[in-house]
Amino acid sequence: MTHFGLPDDALALRDGLREVLTTACSTAVVRAAWDGDPCEPLWKSLGSFGLPGLLAAEAVGGLGLDELSFVAALEEAGWHGVPGPLVETMSYLPALDLPVDGSARLAVQRPAAVNVAYAQVATHVIRPYEVVAARGAGVVQTVDRSRAMGALAPAPTMTIVAKERYDDFARASLRATLGTAAFLLGLARRQVDLTVAYVKERQQFGVAVGSFQAVKHPLADAVVGTEFAWPAVMRAAYSLATGDPAGSLHVSMAKALASDASYRVSRVCLQAHGAMGYTVEYDLHLFAKRTWALANEWGTAREHRAAIARTILERNER
């Protein structure tokens, strides 16, 4: 029977992950990543939980789950602001012969990009059809410092990807795009939660500022955006899990909606905090800055919309 919702196993996985991350990924851990800490204990916990290999086959130690569990987990990871190349690692591990216990961390060099995000903490860097087992050289600072970039050091070991795995790589790329969309919506949810807590507490003019329509209404509108983006993420996950030929279109839609909705949330939440959001001593910025970075990563909303426009304007010409 038709049912649109995450299956119970995905929900259970998410709840389990929430428990792990509540202890393993406090904002202190996220802040440590800002100082360059590779956060080994966190990744160890993630490895024990099985997260890196969520999509990998059970035969190689993975959980063998599908994209619905993948987006459920990554939305939760986004809420906690998990630092490091989690989306990329989860997306590309099934295409590679690398350990799934959290010891392998995969960064991805995007086409035409000089620098690689997470180059300092990754164990491998993936480029179109080759895998480099090396960390980046030199640090290029980004607005979200936990994503510090670097150019690649000369590669000590390099693996050329076999042609028969090209399809796996294409699938990994779609998954990473989708996973980033899910992560963004988790980041957005966290920012909304922080904001709701703050504006209920903060008093001005003798009342909680959250009682003003000037605060309520922009926040309500921003939440409309994320609430309507999430079903698109679920749909794209279902399409990848079921091999829907429109999967790529659905992933583009998920990413475009999630990018825009989470960006808008970041703006509204910052504004609702007044000056409080404008200092890095408060936590909000950790999630806002990751949002700004990821909104443009794995395709900007504009790029995905352009791709969608090509498809729908052609498709309907038939």
Binding site: M1, T2, H3, F4, G5, L6, P7, L68, V192, V196, V199, K200, V207, A208, G210, S211, F212, Q213, V215, K216, H217, L219, A220, D221, V223, V224, E227, F228, A229, P231, A232, M234, R235, Y238, M253, A256, L257, R302, R305, A306, I308, A309, I312, L313, N316, E317
Partner: protein, 377 residues
Amino acid sequence: MDLTETAAEAAFRAEARAWLTANVPAVPLPSGDTREGFAMHLEWERLLFEARWAVVSWPAAYGGRDASVWEWLAFEEEYYRAGAPQRVTQNGIFLLAPTLFAFGTQEQQDALLPRMAAAQDLWCQGWSEPGAGSDLASLTSRADRDETAGGWRLSGQKTWTTRGAFCTHLFGLFRSDPASERHHGLTYFLVPLDAPGVTVRGFPRLDGDEGFAEVWFDDVFVPDSAVLGGVDAGWQVAMATTGSERGLTLRSPGRYTATVDRLLALARDHEVDAAIEQRLAQAWMDAEAYRLFTLRQVSAEQAGRGRPGESSLNKLFWSELDIRLHELALDILGPAAELEGPWSKGFQFSLSGPIYAGTNEVQRNIVAERLLGLPRR
């Protein structure tokens, strides 16, 4: 998660599509919000009823097909895709009927629902008053007890009653406890508009069609059987109906996906640049997102996992989406946008979306307070 259509659903959809293809008028009917157009729409409604497509989700006994909500969504999708006429009976079958099913006595259901389905009784909504719009609970229309006659005497004025000048019956709220305030002491009444003491004056909407009416009640007698859901319980009963109005029964996703299809066809007939293409992609995504959100909302409600404020999210989205879709069409048309035609007419209609069924300002309050838990003022 399962989005595959069952064989039964697919068959249902195919049957609906075939019937619509064969029966939808080739030339669009004139607006159902004018007197002449309304009459032509009634003929269409009766055709629908005879073929049992008028109220697919209702029991067969009342003229329906016992369709599941998924089948209903499929029917709506096909209905809009076929460009079938607007449903001038919608305030009865989509707003009153759910309340009748939930709160009506067996007698009320048996008496009213078949006639409603057959477009014999035509129902309009009597919520707003000149002084009670967003603040519905401030309504002052009265119902005075007439113990001798075994009923109530209604007095007061309702307004913004959609298609009120063409309808035969009105459902609305009246203050039955004169000592009451706000949302207490109200009763939900079912009133024939030919009852002595009722005066109806139609007046034009933004697009000039006589789509609204004012309705005056001057000591109008109605019997006890005209009460729906209990004396002084009107607010709770009515809220069930406004939930339907805000939510998906009024605005099925097929409406917007069909609009986007027409928008894409329009774009193909004009030169469009990358700026318009971006907006077309957004339009397509938004209509699709609305469809997906609705599927999720229905699934959650069926699983007993509905959330407070969800119908307000839904209403905020479709009402603003509808305007954006029409704005985009008018932008593509450029100077020709001002000509009267389906897009300019649709644009004007879309502007009512953020106003009726609870203004969007009220919906934002609801989302902020009930879904997010922000404090009331």
